[in-house]
């Protein structure tokens, strides 16, 4: 296990380097440069800014300085929000993303898992067909269609839940965004769960268990569930990554001050440091989440724990 972990971490470093380099290149190859301000700066101010941010150094020197800053966790200043650093925006936005992301994943796992199990145990019935239909619908309808519809129904017509915003301490504001984000993943997980449970239930060891006199429920929970969960767990890595980037739309529609929204406004306003900083962070998060998913996969399947 330790060797596996070490091996994976070793792959993580070149990946981060690639992402950071890509980000740096974008920062410096853009037309107009990073200091397109909407103020008419006098030449002396421009020069002092250039000196302060080391823009007058040769490119390779700037690159290594950039990597050094990155290693120390300094992502630079934001250009659209004066007097704010990228780190501050991330400190502001990351908790939002994590909360919504975690809630969505929880919802998707529970609802999708339950749906999949239900469909698998009643294979071929009306319930199964309904569940499958709902699942394929969930995958096909984009988030930016379901989110406004949810707002229309639950906030504007029924007045059950707020239409958006982030108010700390209020759970009602978390419901609609999390559910909207979770829907496609619920569908994916339901499909995977159904397929893997059917697979697991048709294995010989299940027949053995039933022959021993175990009730169907016990058979399901004690024997079929663990192998059935494995494809779901291996899906979690890409799912979590998708949730991260999918939250960009959710934040837009619900007006949440998360990293995704800062990223989009940064991209549109040419706030390069914000954009590259958040991209690097996304990359690091995706690597971390994939690692976590792989680890849980290894934990679930004892066969993988032995060194390869």
């Amino acid at each position: 296990m330790a060797r596996y972990l070490a091996g994976r971490l070793l792959t993580a470093i070149p990946t981060l380097l690639v992402i950071a380099t890509l980000a740096f290149m974008l920062l410096h190859l853009t037309p107009g440069g990073p200091f397109d301000s909407d103020r008419i700066l006098t030449p002396q101010i421009e020069r002092s800014i250039a000196a302060r941010y080391h823009l007058d150094e040769p490119l390779w020197q700037q690159y290594f300085r950039y990597l050094g800053d990155l290693a120390r966790g300094d992502l630079g200043p934001s250009f659209q929000y004066r007097n704010t650093s990228v780190n501050e925006l991330i400190a502001q936005g990351l908790p939002v993303d994590v909360t919504i992301g975690a809630l969505s994943m929880l919802f998707a796992l529970l609802a999708g898992g339950a749906l999949g199990l239900l469909a698998a145990t009643r294979q071929g019935s009306v319930l199964d067909q309904l569940a499958t239909s709902v699942a394929i619908l969930g995958i096909s309808v984009p988030v930016f269609v379901t989110a406004p519809l949810l707002i229309l129904v639950f906030a504007m017509r029924l007045h059950w839940l707020p239409a958006g915003d982030w108010v700390s301490g209020s759970w009602q504001h978390l419901v609609l965004p999390s559910v909207a984000l979770a829907l496609p993943y619920t569908a994916y997980i339901a499909r995977i769960m159904r397929a893997s449970t059917c697979d697991a239930l048709s294995q010989p060891f299940i027949r053995t268990a039933r022959a021993k006199g175990l009730s169907p429920t016990a058979v399901l929970w004690r024997h079929a569930l663990r192998p059935a969960l494995m494809p779901v767990v291996s899906f979690l890595g890409p799912a979590l990554a998708g949730v991260l980037t999918g939250s960009i739309v959710i934040e837009q529609v619900f007006g949440l001050p998360g990293m995704g929204r800062y990223f989009v406004t940064g991209a549109l306003n040419r706030d390069y440091t914000v954009v590259t900083g958040i991209t690097v962070l996304y990359g690091a998060l995706i690597i971390g989440l994939n690692l976590l998913a792989d680890l849980s996969y290894a934990w679930l399947d004892p066969r993988l724990r032995r060194p390869a």
Partner: protein
């Protein structure tokens, strides 16, 4: 005929077998039919409709769907016919979907086949690269590229295509490895055929079935991505509209004129749904065929 032998013969019988399997699944056939109908409509309706997708008609702003004057889907905020605009939107979504998938298929197949066939260090290098690229957050990068280098429509195809080839490369590599183990490959090698020719003439045709499946499954995610870009305001420029930008506009009119959201959303969902269904059925067909 066992599974291994079936994979040996060139694509032909794989196609026919797949088609037979497909025909047996009514829903997949229906999906194909719906897609064909939408594509046909998207192609023909704008040519035959008296209305233009770009010309505003001041006196007909926000007319709901009606049978009068052929305004089946109604008009939008500038009085432009929604039917024609939705058809154009379908054109663009289908075009981007197919074109970008093509790009991703080409890259993925070449990459995976080369890695699987050559093996050894080349394989290791190519697949490590895939692992590394897997973790790069492409959606943000594409958004940034879009913003920085202008709303060049060609860029959209290419960018989306380069995002989607990774899974395909992995799968193709796996399949190539199993093909490579076949006897006739060893025979050809003994005869001195060059690796490039081997890949081109023996490996690739046997991959076609697999590629078809995954290409069909890539299209919906590509269309979704393009719709997402348009929704964020980064896709096509006005007055052209893609289904994503039509949905974005419609979302703003959700209360007053819901048909502006519902109709493009329904078309977008239908296209994605049909491709998903088709891809699923193809995959089932190939897997059950292989046994």
């Amino acid at each position: 005929m066992n599974g291994a032998a079936a994979a040996v013969s060139p694509g032909g019988s794989a196609w026919r077998a797949a088609w037979r399997q497909l025909r047996a699944r009514r829903s997949a056939l229906l999906a194909l039919g719906v897609l064909a109908a939408i594509a046909l409509a998207a192609l023909l309706v704008p040519c035959f409709s008296p209305y233009d997708y770009a010309t505003p008609v001041w006196t007909r702003i926000f007319t709901p769907p009606t049978l009068q004057a052929g305004r089946i889907f109604g008009t939008d905020a500038l009085g432009r016919d929604l039917l024609v605009r939705v058809m154009w939107g379908c054109r663009i979504s289908l075009l981007v979907g197919v074109a970008a998938s093509l790009v991703s298929v080409v890259i993925g197949v070449l990459w995976g086949a080369t890695a699987g066939y050559l093996g050894g260090r080349v394989d290791g290098l190519l697949m490590r690269t895939v692992d590394v690229l897997y973790c790069v957050p492409f959606i943000p990068l594409v958004i940034v590229l879009e913003v920085l280098f202008g709303r060049n429509f060609l860029l959209v195809f290419v960018a989306i295509g380069t995002v989607s080839w990774l899974d395909l490369a992995r799968i193709v590599r796996g399949q190539t490895l199993s093909i490579r183990a076949q006897d006739y490959i060893a025979a050809a090698q003994a005869l001195g055929v060059r690796p490039a020719t081997m890949i081109r003439r023996h490996v690739v045709p046997n991959l076609i079935g697999l590629v078809m499946v995954y290409a069909t499954l890539t299209v919906p995610s590509v269309i979704l991505f393009e719709a997402l870009l348009s929704f964020l305001g980064l896709g096509v420029q006005a007055p052209l509209a893609s289904l994503g930008s039509l949905v974005a506009d419609g979302a703003g009119e959700m209360q007053a004129n819901p048909y502006l959201l519902v109709i493009p959303a329904a078309f977008l969902a239908a296209i994605i749904l049909c491709f998903n269904r088709l891809g699923d059925a193809l995959r089932d067909a190939f897997e059950s065929h292989r046994g």
